[in-house]
């Protein structure tokens, strides 16, 4: 009986601990995400990265990352979206969001839902602008996960 009670107590302790773990706030397994992205970069060499923690707001909004490139170099853009709980659209333009006649170079808009990784190879511009469109999501504290962008060159 003693064994039974101790076993039950241990089980409950683990259950309580796990319950608290699943409610943990704004954190992501960045190491795991980076490792996956690093493998996807191959044979390109790591250049830079941006981890974006996304919290939804009442209204949809956009985050923009300006990426300088050099003519004559080839680039690979790897976006890992596995840690996102809401669909974020990734668009890449040749000019920033204020420019009137900017060209859309790449978009994940038509990619299959739930696709955890998006890859784009490019070798032309001197600058590109990565726009993340974050969907509306109720109150401002609703954490929607992390998006990792890793850039490689060769």
């Amino acid at each position: 009986m003693k064994k039974f009670i101790l076993g039950t107590l241990s089980f409950l302790a683990i259950a309580v601990f796990t319950a608290f773990q699943t409610t943990d706030g704004n954190s992501c397994e960045t190491k795991v995400l980076k490792e996956k992205a690093r493998k996807s970069l191959d044979p390109y060499r790591y250049d830079s990265s941006k981890l974006i923690k996304i919290s939804c707001r009442k209204q949809s909004f956009m985050k923009e990352v300006e990426v300088p490139l050099f003519i004559g170099e080839k680039y690979k853009f790897v976006f890992n979206t596995e840690a996102l709980t809401k669909p974020v659209i990734i668009d890449i333009y040749n000019k920033d969001h204020d420019a009137r006649n900017r060209k859309l170079l790449y978009s994940t808009k038509d990619d299959a839902a739930g696709k955890g990784e998006h890859i784009w190879e490019y070798a032309r511009s001197t600058k590109v602008y990565v726009d993340y469109t974050i969907p509306a999501g109720g109150d401002s504290s609703s954490f929607a996960g992390c998006l990792l962008f890793v850039l490689g060159y060769k």
């Binding site: 107590l9 699943t22 250049d47 170099e73 001197t126 600058k127 726009d131 999501g137």
Partner: protein, 298 residues
């Protein structure tokens, strides 16, 4: 008897665990409700363009800049890089440490890509010392990076791959600790050092491709300034760094070829093809030398 005594606390624990589990599940339900609400909101807002938050900047790695200069024919000249003996001087604050970590990262890349094994080893040690001061010492222990670096001396490609891996680990640690301003400052130091080396080598060898690459690099000066300005409140010493970078950028902006560029062109500008006079290049490199001297003095 034992069971009777134990059953009461057990009931309490069971009730508490049940309540906690419910609370956890409740949170998940809330998320689902919010998601459902979000979908509704999203449908209602389809017609309005989403607002854009402040733009952030992805800055290239010092290794890539060194590699671009190398491809342009940048030769190796000994004694151009900042002497490793200076590394002990940089302990007057985070910004000086970060700038000089950048300087040594650029020197490390320059030596490595030019197969200078002993110098590479020395600059790796100087970089490690400064990184440790900045709390980044563990990066060099990850996957035995420092040991692997020493074992691969002589293999330029392997060393470059290890430096790239170190860069990734460094970026990760700084991002996790929300210290992007340190990351931007390290890059500012690396960029100044790369431009300094490029300018000095151009003075000695007059390689046309190198001057084109120097001018091309000016296209990212604006990104460094913006990245640092966005973080300026994190450290009062950043203001002086920004002012120096603005001074360099303004010299470049005053060049006739740059002024002639139409800002509204729909085509990508190949910065390396902007015509420059010898005097213009000389005025730019003079300012870079001045700023670099200030940085390495500590």
């Amino acid at each position: 008897m034992y069971f009777k005594k134990a059953v009461l606390p057990l009931n309490g624990i069971l009730a508490a665990a049940f309540a906690v589990t419910l609370a956890a599940c409740g949170s998940n339900n809330n998320v689902e409700q919010e998601t459902a609400g979000a979908a509704k909101d999203s449908a209602q807002q389809k017609t309005t363009a989403p607002k854009t938050e402040q733009t952030t900047f992805a800055l290239p790695s010092p290794l890539q800049i060194a590699s671009i200069f190398k491809k342009a024919g940048l030769k190796y000249f000994p004694n151009l890089a900042n002497p490793v003996e200076n590394s002990g001087k940089y302990n007057s604050g985070k910004i000086s440490e970060a700038l000089n970590l950048g300087v040594y990262s650029a020197d490390l890349s320059y030596c490595t890509l030019n197969k200078q094994n002993q110098d590479s080893k020395n600059y790796m040690k100087a970089s490690r010392d400064l990184a440790t001061l900045l709390g980044l010492g563990k990066v060099f222990e990850t996957d035995n990076l420092a040991t692997r670096f020493e074992k691969n001396l002589g293999s330029e490609d392997s060393l470059a791959a290890i430096i790239a891996e170190m860069q990734m680990q460094t970026d990760m640690v700084l991002e996790e600790n929300e210290q992007e301003y340190v990351s931007a400052t390290v890059f500012a130091g690396a960029w100044i050092e790369s431009m300094y080396i490029g300018g000095k080598v151009y003075e000695k060898a007059k390689e046309k491709n190198v001057s084109s690459r120097l001018i091309e690099q000016m296209s990212i000066a604006e990104n460094i300034i913006k990245a640092l300005k966005a973080q300026e409140q994190k450290d009062p010493n950043l203001t002086a760094v920004i002012a120096d970078l603005v001074a360099i950028r303004d010299i470049y902006k005053g060049f006739a070829g740059v002024k002639a560029l139409s800002e509204n062109t729909s085509e990508d500008v190949d910065f390396s093809k902007i015509p420059m006079t010898e005097e213009e290049i000389s005025s730019l490199t003079k300012k870079i030398v001045e700023v670099r001297t200030k940085i390495v003095k500590g």
